[in-house]
């Protein structure tokens, strides 16, 4: 039985493709974007997420931890992540929901059961299902199982990808994918490697080949002030998109500084403190620039 690791399934997604959708979030990503707003999506392994603002200091976690990884310090309970094996026993005992295991192994059938619940909403809105993450293509067999199941069920499918995958994997998914939500980040090779951890050659090549095959693609560009909103990157992005074999709309997504607490909860460093959400005026100026470059631009989405 094919199973896969997800970190969330969210219903009433209205910005992940057309209509009302359910978005299935895969856990595990080949990129490590410094601005990532879902840091729990990066590691393919289970993780312990702490929400200290919910903690009532009852000490139940410390009492049950088999590794003695939770200890009282000044009336608060501190978790030693080095000792923690992410077994989840403390999460069961934490009625305050201050502790959570991020990630769960699902079968295709289990995911489909959740997806099927909102069928009425997809039908009324021409919506469907979006596979996102993390990177769905990192779990190709599971993804393929889900895509096939959706097509059998007559549901529209979208694949939200960073593009960093073997071409063969794309080839396998493509027959069951109605829409690709394809992320562009930085056009500069070195800069891309520095800020995401991987070079962008493969991402751009895959995109070009997908476009040449006539796949339906919505490009998505997250705009992170000071990282990729400089004139050179905008120019290079415009040039690349304009040169694609088939035109694709470009969705501009403003960066939101909302993930800081998540990083803290996972015990991860937040690498981009202090970056503000771009102003509406700035977003409009960038949209204007791309429009003048002949691109089909959509703000938000």
């Amino acid at each position: 039985m094919t199973t896969g690791m997800l970190f969330d399934i969210r219903r009433y997604a209205i910005h992940d493709g057309p209509g009302i959708r359910t978005t299935v979030f895969f856990k595990g990503c080949p990129l490590r974007c410094a601005w990532c707003h879902n840091p729990e999506s990066q590691s393919p392994a289970l993780e312990l997420m702490l929400r200290p603002n919910r903690c009532i200091s009852c000490g139940a976690c410390a009492q049950v931890c088999p590794e003695l990884a939770v200890q009282p310090v000044d009336g608060r309970y501190v978790t030693d992540r080095a000792a923690c094996t992410v077994c989840g026993v403390c999460v069961e005992a934490c009625y305050a929901d201050a502790r959570q295991i991020v990630g769960r192994e699902y079968t295709v059938e289990e995911v489909m059961a959740v997806i099927e619940r909102d069928r009425d909403f997809y039908l009324h809105s021409n919506g469907g299902v979006t596979f996102s993450g993390g990177e769905p293509l990192m779990q190709p067999d599971f993804l393929l199982g889900l895509l096939r199941a959706c097509k059998t069920a007559g549901l529209h499918t979208a694949l939200d990808t960073c593009g960093y995958a073997a071409w063969e994997t794309f080839e396998r998914a493509l027959p069951y994918t109605d829409l690709l939500l394809y992320d562009l980040k930085l056009m500069d090779q070195a800069g891309h490697r520095q800020i995401t951890g991987v070079p962008n050659r493969r991402i751009l090549d895959n995109l070009h080949r997908l476009s040449a095959l006539g796949a339906t693609i919505w490009l998505r560009l997250p705009l992170i002030p000071g990282i990729n909103d400089d004139a050179e990157n905008l120019r290079a992005t415009a040039a690349f998109v304009a040169a694609l074999p088939n035109p694709a709309p470009l969705y501009l997504l403003p960066y939101h500084n909302s993930a800081e607490a998540k990083y803290a909860g996972l015990g991860l460093p937040f690498q981009l403190p202090g970056i503000q959400t771009p102003t509406d005026a700035h977003m409009h100026a960038i949209a204007e620039y791309f429009t003048r470059a002949g691109l089909n631009v959509v703000l938000g989405g």
Binding site: Y12, A13, H15, G19, D120, F121, L299, G300
Partner: protein
């Protein structure tokens, strides 16, 4: 179109006017009843008192007004109804000084009350008579907060007008009355005399409103004669002409149609302080023929029509709900008087009712941004998406209007109750969410019913833990129950016991109103009172329904689910431990969190919880639906709260869903605030598992962040969410589009947020006018975000 200077000024005047209590009506009624008089039947006496009122009350025309008439002597000067509820001096002090929904009461008014009103009416009002007629069990249950009683301070009303006034003048009504009188059969009909008296009353009442309008015409002529500005002079002359034509005759123009309705509205709400004011219902459909005709012949432009509608809107906002005290103020703590103007829906032949006037009215709703009148869209599968999309853009602006109703389901609800298909299509929603066959039905809301409190009694062998009183039947110590089903049966026994008490009381109250406070003016407007020669309060309407409004379905679901899951299935908490935790109001926070966070809860599309919702629904439906009232109709259920979920929560101790004593219950059919964690589609699916088609209305609140509706995808998502919910046979949905941070800021700094409007239950209100408990409750409602 931007507001004209006139409209902006009148609107501002309405917003700035502080509600005051006017003693004028009370004085006039006292003068009338104090006159020496011979024996009179109740309908004739009431009609004569109405005639006296209409002949003597102050006539008010404000500078620049196009639509005229006020219920009191000036905007927001609010009349009282001492024959029904005679306020004490203490009541007046409370009204004057309370922090929320206050009414300024001048020293002069207090003096008039002390010298004249109270000495005359004390001990004689309907309110005192009503309580005196109730059984000790009824009084005990009422005082414990098991139910409320709508008719203790306000008259039954709860009805809406159809299209008849746009076809017939009141002189035509009088002709119909004369025909009915001529047909009376004193040889064979033992009720012929009673019918004659009722019809005589209606005839007098119709004449009284014509007099009232003529007094406006006279004042307008007087003002015109003294008016230096020729433009305004012409307007005043036109007002005079309009008021001498309507309501005596059928309206000929768009303007006359609006003015006619407004006089009728003032008539109904002056005769008695009817619940839910009164309402024109499908205003767009009623006005469309006038609009089209006048646009075609050049006597009206879209702009003039819009300005007239704006002036009409301001008129509603000038009339705060009658001053309420005690439990009535708790259950309906608002100035809003629930006139809910319908747009869209179906025509009598079942086709699409959306017209250009629909869009005109939606523009007016958006521009006016007033609490009153309330507004709704009636959405049928026959209506275009564009219509919902236009409304969604208004919803996005975040003042809670318009609310959204399922027209096709309303037709099904009304026909299930026995209405004809055409009468059902011409019906719609009113008040908060209640359905009715407009112009043909008396659908009386009798009071709210505290479902969670019943379960509290079942957990305590019929005893109210708050007072220690043995309120209900002894249904057993739950520690001795072997199964969840036994516990549920105990709940059902409590339910039946108190529904019996409530219905017995309501059947007496119906008779009190029929006998002592008939309403000949309202009666003449509602079919088939004239044909039957019977009063609206006495079964004269074609359809006569009584409702008991269930409250706290979401809370009760979670309570039952918590007990079922933890005590009977997981067995991680004994009944004894649970009862101790409740008695101690959750001294141990871990127990509370176990119940709150480790229980399958309503609103998450979780069958374990939702199956219990359905079970509660069926139990409540079976306890109420189909019982006979005294007006030839039946009792049905609906599920809505106004503000009573706060009051009912205040009288209910700690509950097994992890709710601490005194906190609000869930409202309408919404999940417990914050318990729904899987997004709006999961909420809608949970809620739709109840059979809304067997109710007379359900109320669902959803809170969206403004970001979720910021773009086209957000608006379309909302439109399709509504479509899908209605395809699942949901009755109603309304939206608060405001983020919790804004609400918290308003809580901290009310002065800077005076204009912040939120959706409460079936109405909108200024956030700062809400009780602090209610403010917190709205903040706690789950917020659906974008991601």
């Amino acid at each position: 179109m931007p507001m004209t200077e006139r409209v902006a000024r009148l609107r501002r005047q309405s917003l700035d006017a502080r509600p005051t209590l006017s003693a004028e009506r009370a004085e006039l009624m006292t003068d009338f009843y104090a006159q020496p008089h011979g024996l009179r039947s109740a309908p004739v006496e009431r009609a004569l008192s109405f005639e006296y009122l209409m002949a003597h009350k102050t006539i008010y025309i404000s500078a620049g007004e196009l639509i005229v008439g006020e219920k009191g002597p000036a905007p927001k000067a609010t009349p009282t109804y001492p024959e029904l509820c005679c306020h004490t001096l203490e009541d007046l002090d409370i009204l004057d000084t309370r922090a929320k929904t206050s009414f300024a009461v001048s020293a002069q008014v207090k003096q008039i009350y002390a010298d004249k009103i109270i000495p005359f009416w004390r001990g004689k009002s309907m309110r005192e008579r009503l309580f005196a007629e109730m059984t000790p069990e009824w009084i005990a249950a009422y005082e414990a907060g098991l139910f409320t009683e709508f008719m203790e301070q306000r008259a039954p009303g709860h009805t809406v007008l159809d299209d008849k006034i746009y076809r017939l003048g009141l002189l035509d009504f009088q002709t119909a009355i004369d025909e009915s009188l001529a047909k009376l059969d004193f040889l064979n009909d033992p009720h012929a005399f009673a019918r004659q008296e009722e019809l005589r009353g209606m005839r007098i009442a119709a004449g009284a409103l014509i007099t009232f309008a003529e007094r406006h015409a006279a004042l307008a002529r007087e003002l015109a004669a003294a008016e230096p500005d020729p433009l305004r002079r012409a307007e005043l002359e036109q007002i005079a002409e309009t008021c001498s034509w309507v309501p005596a005759h059928a309206p000929r123009t768009f303007r006359e149609a609006l003015q006619y309705y407004w006089f009728v509205h003032l008539g109904v709400t002056s005769e008695l302080n009817t619940w839910d004011a009164f309402c024109p219902g499908h205003l767009d459909q009623h006005l469309a023929p006038f609009y089209r005709r006048e646009l075609a012949n050049g006597t009206l432009t879209r702009e003039t029509a819009e300005e007239l509608l704006q002036c009409f809107w301001i008129k509603f906002n000038n009339q705060p709900a009658p001053p309420k005290v005690g439990v009535t103020a708790e259950e309906s703590g608002t100035y809003t008087d629930f006139a809910q103007i319908n747009t869209g829906g179906l025509l009598a032949d079942g086709s699409d009712g959306v017209s250009e006037v629909t869009y005109l009215i939606l523009d007016v709703i958006e521009e006016m941004r007033l609490l009153q009148p309330s507004s709704s869209i009636q959405v049928s599968a026959q209506n275009p998406d564009e219509f919902i999309h236009r409304a969604a853009k208004i919803i996005r602006t975040g003042f809670g209007q318009p609310s959204v109703f399922n027209s096709d389901l309303i037709v099904a609800e009304l026909t299930r109750q026995g209405k004809s298909l055409v009468d059902a299509r011409c019906g719609g929603s009113s008040g908060c969410v209640e359905v009715g066959a407009f112009g043909k039905e008396a659908y009386i809301l009798t009071g709210y019913f505290n479902l969670p409190k019943l379960f509290e009694l079942a957990l305590n062998d019929g005893r109210d833990p708050r007072t220690g009183a043995q309120l209900g039947p002894r249904t057993g110590d739950p520690r001795s129950f072997a199964s969840f089903d036994e516990l549920f049966s105990a709940f059902e026994r409590q339910l039946l016991h108190f529904i019996d008490i409530k219905v017995r009381g309501s059947n007496v109250i119906e008779r009190l109103y029929a006998a002592f406070l008939p309403c000949p003016f309202l009666s003449l407007l509602i079919d088939d009172c004239i044909a039957r020669g019977k009063d609206y309060h006495d079964g004269g309407a074609r359809y006569n329904t009584s409702y008991i409004q269930g409250v706290g379905v979401g809370s009760l679901t979670d309570m039952l689910s918590a007990v079922k899951y933890h005590v009977y299935e997981e067995r991680d908490l004994s009944m004894d431990a649970l009862l101790s935790a409740l008695a101690g109001n959750f001294a141990d926070e871990r127990t509370r969190l176990l119940l709150a966070n480790r229980t399958p809860r309503f609103g998450n599309d979780d069958e374990r919880a939702d199956a219990l919702t359905v079970r509660i629904f069926e139990a409540y439906f079976n306890a109420v639906d189909g019982r006979r009232n005294t007006r030839g109709g039946e009792y049905h259920i609906n599920l809505l709260p106004t503000t009573v979920h706060v009051y009912f929560g205040a009288v209910t101790g700690a509950t097994p869903d992890g709710r601490c004593a005194g906190l609000p219950l869930s409202e309408g059919v919404s999940p417990v605030q914050g318990a729904d964690r899987c997004g709006p589609t999961a909420v809608l699916r949970s809620v739709a598992k109840m059979d809304h088609g067997r109710t007379g209305g359900t109320l669902l609140n959803q809170k969206f962040t403004p970001q979720l509706l910021a773009d086209e995808a957000g608006l379309n998502g909302l439109v399709q969410l509504i479509r899908a919910y209605f395809a699942m046979r949901g009755h109603h949905i309304q939206f608060n589009v405001v983020d919790a941070e804004t609400l918290r800021a308003a809580r901290r700094d009310p002065q800077s947020h005076r204009d912040l409007i939120v959706r409460v239950a079936g109405y909108s209100d200024y956030f700062c006018d809400l009780s602090e408990t209610l403010q917190d409750e709205i903040i706690a409602r789950t917020e659906h975000e974008t991601f």
